[in-house]
Amino acid sequence: MSAPSGGRILFTAFVALVLTVLPLPPWLDVLRPVFLVLAVLYWSVNAPRTGDIALGFFAGLALDVFQGPVLGQHALALTLVTYIAVREHQRIRSKPAFQQALIVFAALAVYEFVLFAIDGWSGHPVTSPLRWVHTVTGALLWPPVAAVLASGARGRA
């Protein structure tokens, strides 16, 4: 697949951000995966040169503005996850979708754990188990999300 342009990556990231902050009823909100993280993961794996750690950092910063109690929290978590994805992108890319979904689950768990740790450290502990739900739904939704992003990249790039 040819390397997609930076513009396309930014566009998809923006759409993912909108999906992430779109108001939803509470029960659906709990289930909603963090689409922005999925998109960043996809580009880190499939276009590590364009979508870089910087993408993770700034996407995380955007999440912080919308829903972070502490500025920099999501940025750190997403930077870490992006780093892992970029580093291992060749191995992840070659896996079948099912295994990729497992890896995404692990990455989301790491992401959420960092958020959780920082929440505790900064005095906003939210211990509800519901906060982990999105790691599962995110992994389940990974194949379709990846397919959509891939088709967009192939169709117009």
Binding site: V18, A75, L76, Q90
Partner: protein, 410 residues
């Protein structure tokens, strides 16, 4: 590439050094930003700018629901609108009637506290704000409203709706502000139980329909149906606004604390507008005024009241010590109780200070007498009228602690 067993190999190289280097760099930036945001307040400006940048997106994201609401409203039938109009008219008349009475009560309250004039209204100024978005998850209960710094909104400003307290502003941008709701698990609001004056703290439970009162001892005088109002302590919320109604009191013999749940009176999920309130911090909000000349008068008055207040005292004082900060001045319940019918035969107090009480009994709004035990002692019987014939004693035994009942018996 064979998936398993491939050695990690050297880090991928790209522009600006290795991935590891750039990761370290960004992670360090993130950590510094977090530290600054958490411990210093250097980042308020940055937050402000970011909030400004995010606002258009938030508006756009929330436009579909808003458009849907708008369409719904535009196509409402004529009959429905007329019905609503009639309902609002009735509500307004009702409010006008009530506010007429309010003026009298405010004046009376001022007099009770030894102030010469009616207290200034708690709220100086109001500003209506539209809700742009609502976030009601178990982790975060927030609102975004369409007023910001350019409208004079400031951080930690109280937000109410027409039924009760909603929350306070957490982040303020130029044209928008984020409101943290009282039901957010990170939020706590100092409250007072209106019936008894007992003070405690209501903590959000992460559920739009409930608050927890975790710091009440098992023997606290609280029951289902009690109204919680803001206590004014802490200085963020003006005093006396309704917050929630107690729905559930669970006392477990094993546990030292009662498990109390309350339901917020405000209904954020059905509101489309909220009110931002400016109030005077220097007003004697809490029961013990700390400023103004009222201070002196009350100070001199209260101590001498103490000895006589024996019967009424226990009601509110008893549950106090563990949870509520014991404030002598507030301990007497009359505030809630005071506005009762004129000319209570309060003078029936067997105390020697009767003469002082008598003048009050003659005044038109002699609500004061309800608080009779305190009253007689106030060293300012400003109008020493000749004692009017006092009504006969109706209740020879000690006055009931909770005056409403005492009144009904007569």
């Amino acid at each position: 590439m064979a998936a398993f067993g491939t050695p990690a190999g050297r880090p991928w190289q790209g522009r600006g050094g290795s991935a590891g280097f750039r990761f370290t760099l960004y992670a360090a930036v993130a950590v510094v930003v977090m530290y600054l945001d958490q411990h210093q307040h250097y980042l308020e400006q940055v937050r402000y700018l970011l909030q400004a940048a995010a606002y258009p997106i938030q508006l756009a994201v929330n436009s579909p629901p808003a458009a849907w609401r708008w369409i719904g409203q535009s196509f409402e039938s004529r009959e429905r609108l007329q019905a609503e109009n009639a309902r609002l008219r009735a509500a307004q008349r009702d409010l006008e009637l009530r506010s007429m009475r309010y003026e009298a009560l405010a004046r009376e309250n001022g007099e009770l506290r030894g102030l010469r004039a009616a207290l200034p209204p708690v709220a100086d100024r109001w500003l209506a704000a539209e809700i742009v978005s609502i976030q009601l998850s178990s982790l975060r209960q927030r609102l975004l409203i369409d007023r910001g710094a350019v409208n004079g909104v400031f951080k930690a400003q109280a937000v109410l709706d027409d039924r009760g307290l909603i929350g306070q502003t957490a982040h303020v941008g130029p044209w928008s502000a984020e409101v943290i709701l009282i039901t957010d698990p990170e939020h706590a609001v100092p409250v007072r139980i209106e019936r008894t004056g007992l003070r405690t703290i209501a903590v959000g439970a992460g559920d739009a329909a409930s608050l927890a009162l975790p710091y009440l001892p098992a023997n606290a005088d609280i029951k289902s149906g009690d109204l919680l109002v803001t206590s004014g302590l802490g200085g963020v919320f003006p005093e006396g606004y309704p917050v929630a109604r107690v729905t559930e009191v669970h006392r477990d013999a094993v546990q030292p604390l009662a498990q109390v749940r309350a339901e917020p009176l405000a209904h954020v999920d059905t509101d489309s507008e909220v009110m931002l309130v400016w109030f005077r911090a220097d007003r004697p909000t809490a029961p013990t005024p700390t400023t103004g000349k009222s201070l002196g008068e009350l100070k001199s008055g209260i101590p001498s009241l103490q000895p006589q207040a024996v019967p009424p005292r226990p009601l509110s004082a008893a549950p106090g010590p563990p949870a509520a900060t014991p404030q002598p001045a507030r301990a007497r319940p009359p505030a809630a109780v005071g506005r009762k019918q004129p000319a209570e035969p309060q003078a029936t107090e067997p105390q020697a200070t009767k003469p002082a009480a008598a003048p009050n009994a003659t005044e038109p709004k002699a609500a004061i007498p309800q608080s009779a035990p305190p009253e007689p002692a106030t060293p300012e019987p400003a109008t020493p009228e000749p004692a009017t014939p006092e009504p006969p004693r109706h209740e020879p035994p000690t006055p009931q602690p909770d005056a409403p009942h005492a009144k009904e018996q007569q």
